[in-house]
C-alpha cells in the first residue's frame, strides 16, 4: 500500500514532466516550423493582422453580412444559442431576423433566404457563409456601393472554396476585404 502511494506520486511527477512539459514544448517548437508559426491563419489588411478563421461581425449594409452570433463575434469567449428547435422565443427571434433581412434587402424572395443567415453558429465565431448566402446580398451591396452586380458575382466566385470533401464555403472577412479594395 505504502509503496503504491510513493510510486504513484513519483510516476505522476515524471509523467507530468513528459506530458505537460516536454510534449507541449515539442509541439510548440514544431509550430515555429509551420507556415503560420502557431499563431493561426492570418489575413493582413489595413495594417492589421486579422485571424482568418475567426469570423467578424458585419452589420453595415455595405458589407456582406456574416451569420448571427450568440457572442457577437467577440472571440474572448465562444458559444451557441443552445436554443431547442421548438422553443417559441427562439422561433420568434428567427422570424424577426427574416423580417429584418427582408427590409434591408428589398427585391429578394423570402424563399431564397438561406437558413444559415438567420441561425446562429455553434461557436458564435463562424467565419464562413454559403455561396447562396453571399449571392442573395449582391443586389443590396451593388446599390449601396454602386458596383455592377456582375463584378460582385465574380468576386463571390473567386472567393468560393470547395474542399475535396465537405460543403463549399466563402470566408466573409476575406470577401469583404476584397470588396473594400474593389473600387
Amino acid at each position: 500500500m505504502k509503496t503504491h502511494v510513493f510510486s504513484a506520486i513519483k510516476l505522476t511527477l515524471v509523467m507530468l514532466i513528459l506530458l505537460s512539459g516536454i510534449y507541449p514544448l515539442l509541439i510548440w517548437g514544431a509550430a515555429h516550423l509551420t507556415p503560420d508559426k502557431g499563431q493561426g491563419k492570418r489575413i493582413i489588411a489595413n495594417g492589421q493582422s486579422y485571424y482568418k478563421n475567426i469570423g467578424q461581425t458585419f452589420t453595415q449594409g455595405q458589407y456582406f453580412y456574416s451569420r448571427p452570433s450568440a457572442v457577437s463575434y467577440n472571440a474572448a469567449g465562444s458559444g451557441g444559442s443552445n436554443k431547442g428547435p421548438a422553443n417559441p422565443d427562439y422561433l420568434a427571434t428567427v422570424q424577426a431576423r427574416i423580417d429584418s433581412f427582408m427590409v434591408h434587402n428589398p427585391g429578394i424572395h423570402k424563399k431564397d433566404i438561406p437558413a444559415e443567415l438567420v441561425t446562429a453558429s455553434g461557436s458564435g465565431l463562424d467565419p464562413h457563409i454559403s455561396v447562396e448566402a453571399a449571392t442573395i446580398q449582391v443586389k443590396r451591396i451593388s446599390q449601396i456601393r454602386n458596383i455592377p452586380e456582375a463584378n460582385l458575382n465574380e468576386l463571390i466566385r473567386k472567393h468560393t472554396e470547395q474542399p475535396m470533401f465537405g460543403p463549399s464555403v466563402i470566408n466573409v472577412l476575406a470577401l469583404n476585404i476584397s470588396l473594400d479594395q474593389l473600387k
Binding site: 509503496t3 503504491h4 510510486s7 504513484a8 510516476l11 515524471v14 509523467m15 507530468l16 513528459l18 506530458l19 505537460s20 510534449y23 507541449p24 514544431a30 509551420t34 507556415p35 503560420d36 499563431q39 493561426g40 491563419k41 492589421q48 486579422y50 475567426i54 461581425t57 458589407y63 472571440a75 474572448a76 469567449g77 465562444s78 458559444g79 451557441g80 444559442s81 443552445n82 436554443k83 431547442g84 428547435p85 421548438a86 422553443n87 427562439y90 422561433l91 428567427v94 427574416i98 424563399k111 433566404i113 438561406p114 437558413a115 441561425t119 453558429s121 455553434g122 461557436s123 458564435g124 465565431l125 463562424d126 464562413h128 454559403s130 447562396e132 470533401f165 465537405g166 460543403p167 464555403v169
Partner: protein
C-alpha cells in the same frame, strides 16, 4: 450534399483500416513482445520506471491491479484540486483568470480524471494555461487508465487458469509512451498545418474591419486537441469545443479529429482478438457495435440534413439542413454524424451544439450514452460490452439448458451478480439524478430559474442529458443548462466517480474470477460465442436493458418534443 456523404464514409473506412494494424501492434505492446520501436521506447520507459521505483514485471492479481489504479487516480484528484483552486497566482496565467470555486474544481478534476470532461467552465475565462496543460496531462493518463484496465481483461481471458494478470504500471505506461503520445504528436502536426494555434501569449486585442474592438483567446491549443480526441476525452480547449474555428479550423481537421476518436476504441477490439488469439471474436464484437452505431447515426444525419420543420414553415430555404448551432465549414451531415460518434464513444467533444439538434437526434445522442458500449471509450467501452456478453451468455445458457460458459470458463452466481449490479447502476445513476433535479426544479422554479435554457420538454431533456453524459463519462452536454452551481457540480461529480470506477472494477473482478477457474475444453455442447447468432443475442440483451430502463424518461423529453414539432 453528395461530397459530404462521401466524406462520412471515408472517415469511417480510414478509421477501420488504421485500426486493424494498430490493434495488432497494441496486442504486441501489451504482450511485451518486441516491436521495431523498442530502441526508442525502452530507454524512456526504463527512465520512467527507474525514477518511480517500479518493477514493471511484478505480476499482480485483479485486486492489486485495482488498488494500484485507485491510488494513482487519487493522487491526480488531490493534485488537480490544488492546481485549479490556486491557478490565479500560479505561473502561465496571462489572462489573469480567477481561481475555481471548490465545487467547480471538484467537478472539473473528477471529470478529467474519469475521462469524462464534463465542463462547467469555459476554457477562455475559467482556466489558466497551466491548468490547461495539467488537464492535458489528465487526458493522457485517464485514457491510459481505461486501456490498462481493459488489458487486465485481455490477460484474464487468455486460455489458462491463473491469478497473475500482468502489471498495472506496465500496461499504463506503455499505453502512453507507445500508443497515445506518438500518435498525438503526428495528429498535432497535421493540426498545426491547418492553422491551429500553439502559443503561450494571452488574449490578443484587435479592431475588426467594422471598427469594433474585440479580443481573441488563444494558447497551447495544438497540443491539447489531439489527445482530447485520441484519448476519447472530449474536453474542449475553448468553450464551444470543436465548433470553435481555432480548435477545428477546417473540414480536414474535422476529419482528422473524427478518425482520432474512432481509432483507439476500434483498435482495442482488434487488439483483444489478437491477444487472446480469437480474431473471429473481434469481428463479432465489432459487428454488433457497428450495427448499433449505424442505427443511431443514420437517423441523425437524415434529421439534421432535413432541417427544422418550424423554420421551414417560415418560408425560407434550408438546403444545407438545420444550421442553428452548426458551423458552415463542417455542415449538417458531418455534424449529425459526429454527434453520434462522440456519444457512442465516450468522447463528448462537440462540433455543433447538441442542445439545438432536432428532437430525435437529441434522443439518439442520449441513447448512445445510455447504451455506452457501442465502441465506447478508451478501454472502458470493451469492459462495458463485456458485461453484456456475460448477461447474454447467462440468458442463452438458461434458454438451451446448459451451464453458461464463456471462453471455457464457467459463469456462476457471483459473476452474474456483479454483472447485474453494473448493468443496473447506469440507469440508477441517470434516473435518480434526473428525478432529484426535476423535483427541486418543479418545487422551486424561481430559485432555479437559471438552470434551464429552454421551456417544456426540452428543458427536461437538458437535465436528463446532463446525468446521462455524467454516468456514461461522456462529457458532452445540452449546454444551455446553467450547470456551474453547487448542486450540479457536486451531484454530477458524484455520478461521475461512481459511473467510472464501478464499471471498471466490476468487469475486471469478473474477469479475475474467471481467470482463476479451470479451463473446460470445448465440445460439441459448448455455446459458441463468436457467431452471428450470439451477436444477435447480445444485441437483444442490450436493447431490452436500455429500452426498458430509459424509454419512459425519453418519452417525457425528446419524444414528446418530437410530437410538438412535427
Amino acid at each position: 450534399m453528395y461530397s459530404e456523404m462521401i466524406g462520412i464514409v471515408f472517415m469511417f473506412t480510414i478509421s477501420l483500416l488504421l485500426a486493424i494494424p494498430l490493434g495488432k501492434y497494441m496486442a504486441k505492446v501489451y504482450g511485451g513482445q518486441p516491436t521495431r520501436l523498442n530502441r526508442v521506447f525502452n530507454p524512456l520507459e526504463k527512465w520512467l520506471f527507474g525514477i518511480s521505483n517500479i518493477n514493471p514485471n511484478t505480476e499482480m492479481n485483479w485486486k492489486q491491479h485495482m488498488l494500484a489504479m485507485m491510488i494513482i487516480n487519487g493522487v491526480w484528484i488531490v493534485l488537480g484540486m490544488l492546481i485549479l483552486m490556486n491557478q490565479s497566482w500560479l505561473p502561465l496565467n496571462p489572462d489573469k483568470n480567477p481561481d475555481m470555486s471548490a465545487h467547480l474544481a471538484f467537478n472539473t478534476t473528477i471529470s478529467f480524471v474519469v475521462n469524462c470532461n464534463l465542463q462547467h467552465y469555459s476554457g477562455e475565462t475559467g482556466v489558466s494555461y497551466l491548468s490547461q496543460l495539467f488537464l492535458q496531462f489528465l487526458q493522457f493518463v485517464s485514457a491510459a487508465t481505461g486501456m490498462a484496465a481493459a488489458v487486465v481483461l485481455f490477460k484474464a481471458l487468455k486460455d489458462r487458469a491463473t491469478h497473475q494478470l500482468g502489471n498495472f504500471y506496465f500496461f499504463f505506461v506503455k499505453s502512453i509512451t507507445r500508443i497515445l503520445l506518438p500518435i498525438s504528436v503526428v495528429i498535432a502536426i497535421l493540426f498545426l498545418l491547418e492553422g491551429m494555434p500553439m502559443s503561450f501569449e494571452g488574449k490578443e486585442q484587435m479592431v475588426n474591419l467594422q471598427g469594433d474592438t474585440i479580443q481573441v483567446s488563444r494558447g497551447p491549443v495544438a497540443s491539447f486537441v489531439p489527445i482530447k480526441h485520441l484519448g476519447t476525452n472530449g474536453g474542449g480547449y475553448f468553450g464551444s469545443n470543436s465548433a470553435h474555428p481555432l480548435e477545428n479550423p477546417s473540414y480536414f481537421s474535422n476529419m482528422v479529429a473524427m478518425i482520432a476518436q474512432l481509432l483507439i476504441p476500434f483498435s482495442m477490439i482488434f487488439a483483444f482478438g489478437y491477444f487472446i488469439n480469437r480474431r473471429k471474436m473481434s469481428w463479432m464484437i465489432f459487428g454488433v457495435m457497428t450495427v448499433g452505431f449505424l442505427l443511431l447515426a443514420i437517423p441523425n444525419i437524415v434529421q439534421e440534413v432535413n432541417g427544422n420543420p418550424a423554420i421551414a414553415k417560415m418560408g425560407i430555404q434550408q438546403k444545407l439542413g438545420a444550421m442553428e448551432g452548426k458551423e458552415m465549414r463542417i455542415g449538417a451531415a458531418a455534424s449529425g454524424f459526429w454527434s453520434i460518434v462522440t456519444t457512442v464513444i465516450s468522447t463528448g467533444s462537440v462540433n455543433a451544439m447538441h442542445d439545438s439538434t432536432m428532437p430525435m437526434s437529441g434522443m439518439n445522442e442520449m441513447l448512445a450514452m445510455m447504451v455506452n458500449s457501442f465502441y465506447g471509450g478508451c478501454g472502458v467501452g470493451l469492459l462495458n460490452f463485456f458485461i453484456f456478453i456475460i448477461l447474454a451468455v447467462f440468458i442463452s445458457g438458461l434458454m438451451v439448458g446448459r451451464t453458461p460458459e464463456f471462453l471455457g470458463k464457467k459463469i456462476e452466481a457471483n459473476e452474474i451478480k456483479i454483472a447485474m449490479l453494473i448493468a443496473l447502476l447506469h440507469p440508477f445513476l441517470i434516473l435518480v439524478g434526473t428525478a432529484l433535479s426535476s423535483y427541486l426544479y418543479v418545487n422551486n422554479p424561481e430559485a432555479y430559474a437559471s438552470w434551464l435554457n429552454n421551456p417544456g420538454f426540452h428543458g427536461f431533456s437538458e437535465m436528463l442529458y446532463e446525468y446521462t453524459s455524467s454516468a456514461a463519462n461522456n462529457g458532452s452536454g445540452f449546454e444551455g443548462l446553467g450547470d456551474n452551481t453547487l448542486w450540479w457540480n457536486t451531484s454530477t461529480g458524484i455520478v461521475l466517480i461512481l459511473g467510472r470506477f464501478l464499471p471498471i472494477i466490476g468487469p475486471v473482478a469478473i474477469a479475475g474470477m474467471l481467470a482463476a477457474k479451470k479451463q473446460i475444453p470445448e465440445s460439441a455442447g459448448t455455446l459458441k460465442t463468436d457467431t452471428t447468432t450470439f451477436g444477435i443475442m447480445i444485441f437483444a440483451v442490450i436493447l431490452i436493458v436500455t429500452a426498458l430502463s430509459f424509454f419512459p424518461s425519453l418519452a417525457l423529453g425528446p419524444i414528446a418534443e418530437y410530437f410538438t414539432l412535427y
